[in-house]
């Protein structure tokens, strides 16, 4: 029942395929082990959600494709690693004490790159000849990846939350490079410089999943590449909701920086 509502389209198609009468031996064998649904290896368009979902009862089958490995900590240079580890310990301790430290979300600040691609909520991919556009439902985030574009020099790249991205096809891999991320836009609280480059290699792995191999390079802050993979599952026919961070009753205590909650009614 739990899996029934959000049964992946591929499984549904496979089920239908298995019900089709077969006559010859090959077909009978195929019916016993249905062939994967056909897919266009260059079609990322549609609505997606992260796979596997972190919550139980998500409706996903977490065994359909291999789950990605946990994201490793950033390989920060020693002079930055100590401060980063101390910050992580402070955050953990505050959570354990029941007094979480306010974050950018408390102030309605969106993820930016690369955190946007963790797909906190569903995301939509639109492909046109000129660009691939990715919309993340949380905070109405939009990133535009221009095809075969020339990125500006790092020193000329105006910093932003989603930066400047160019994409090109290498076979069936969509290879994306991003620069120009603002200093205060952090993923996992890792500091970075203007020289940070985010490389992504996206590929459709079956009719209902695509993966994004992410590599972050930053000669100023990292000892080497910081790599991880995200996987997404199609959410067919999903219509994205709008998201304006209108009024958060959680706020940062101006003295302690801890998250608090306003008790008044709507402003």
């Amino acid at each position: 029942m739990k899996a029934g509502v959000a049964l992946p389209l591929g499984l549904a198609l496979l089920t239908l395929g298995a019900c089709t009468p077969k006559t010859d031996q090959a077909a009978a064998s195929a019916a016993a082990k249905p062939a994967a649904a056909a897919f266009d290896a260059k079609d990322f368009s549609g609505t997606w959600e992260r796979y596997p979902q972190s919550t139980e009862n998500s409706g996903q089958d977490p065994t359909v494709v291999p789950r990605p490995e946990p994201i490793p900590p950033p390989p920060l240079k020693p002079e930055f690693k100590t401060a980063w580890e101390a910050e992580q310990k402070k955050i953990d301790a505050a959570n354990k004490a029941g007094e979480p430290i306010a974050t950018g979300y408390t102030h309605c600040i969106p993820d930016g790159m690369p955190a946007m691609m963790m797909a906190m909520f569903p995301m939509e991919v639109l492909q046109t000849q000129r660009q691939t556009t990715i919309i993340q439902e949380a905070y109405n985030q939009v990133r535009r990846i221009y095809l075969n574009d020339t990125l500006p020099a790092v020193e000329d790249a105006e910093p932003g939350f989603w930066g400047h991205s160019t994409g090109k096809w290498e076979g069936n891999d969509f290879v994306v490079e991003t620069i120009g991320i603002k200093d205060n836009v952090r993923f996992r609280n890792a500091p970075h410089s203007a020289a940070m480059r985010i490389h992504e290699r996206m590929r459709v792995i079956d009719a209902n999943h695509f993966e994004d191999d992410v590599t972050v390079e930053d000669p100023d802050y990292l000892t080497g590449p910081w790599k991880w993979k995200w996987v997404y599952q199609r959410r067919p026919n999903y219509k994205m909701y709008e998201y304006v961070c209108e009024d958060n009753r959680e706020y940062a205590d101006p003295v302690t920086g801890k998250a608090r909650m306003r008790m008044d009614k709507k402003k």
Partner: protein, 143 residues
């Protein structure tokens, strides 16, 4: 039994929730409470939906509770509707109260006047007491 079936339906509809925005550590999920009262205000907005509920506290004194819910995206996907709660409605809720003792809380489950029961999406976590009588739910039991 009817409510368990409804709850199963709600759970089965919850999808697309990848991660919580933030820590819920300010709320005490280990010591959940059950409140019944009248809706003073219901705001359907991001980043959180809020229910203002006038309800009695443990000492029997009326208080204005501010109850944090997930956001419209999560709760639409969980089967909620923007107009299913209105000012003046009588609700019963199971919540995780603020650790500060203030009358604020994180919603775990809500029972509407018509008997329908809804959860608050995956990241907020399940109730650990019954919305019917406030008694502890057995570990692992479906609420």
């Amino acid at each position: 039994m009817r409510y368990r079936v409804l709850w199963a339906l709600v759970l089965s509809a919850v999808s697309g929730i990848a991660a919580a925005h933030h820590s819920f550590a300010m709320f005490d999920s280990d010591h959940q409470i059950r409140l019944t009262g009248k809706v003073e205000e219901f705001t359907w907005q991001n980043p959180h939906i809020y229910i203002h509920l006038q309800a009695k506290n443990a000492k029997g004194k009326l208080a204005d509770w501010v109850i944090e819910c997930a956001n419209p995206g999560i709760l639409n996907r969980a089967g909620w509707k923007f107009n299913m709660i209105k000012k003046g409605d009588q609700l019963t809720v199971v919540v995780a109260p603020l650790r500060t003792g203030e009358p604020g809380a994180l919603l775990k489950q809500v029972k509407l006047a018509d008997g329908r029961i809804f959860g608050n999406g995956g990241p907020a976590g399940p109730p650990n007491i019954s919305i019917e009588d406030g008694k502890p739910l057995a570990a692992g039991a479906k609420p």
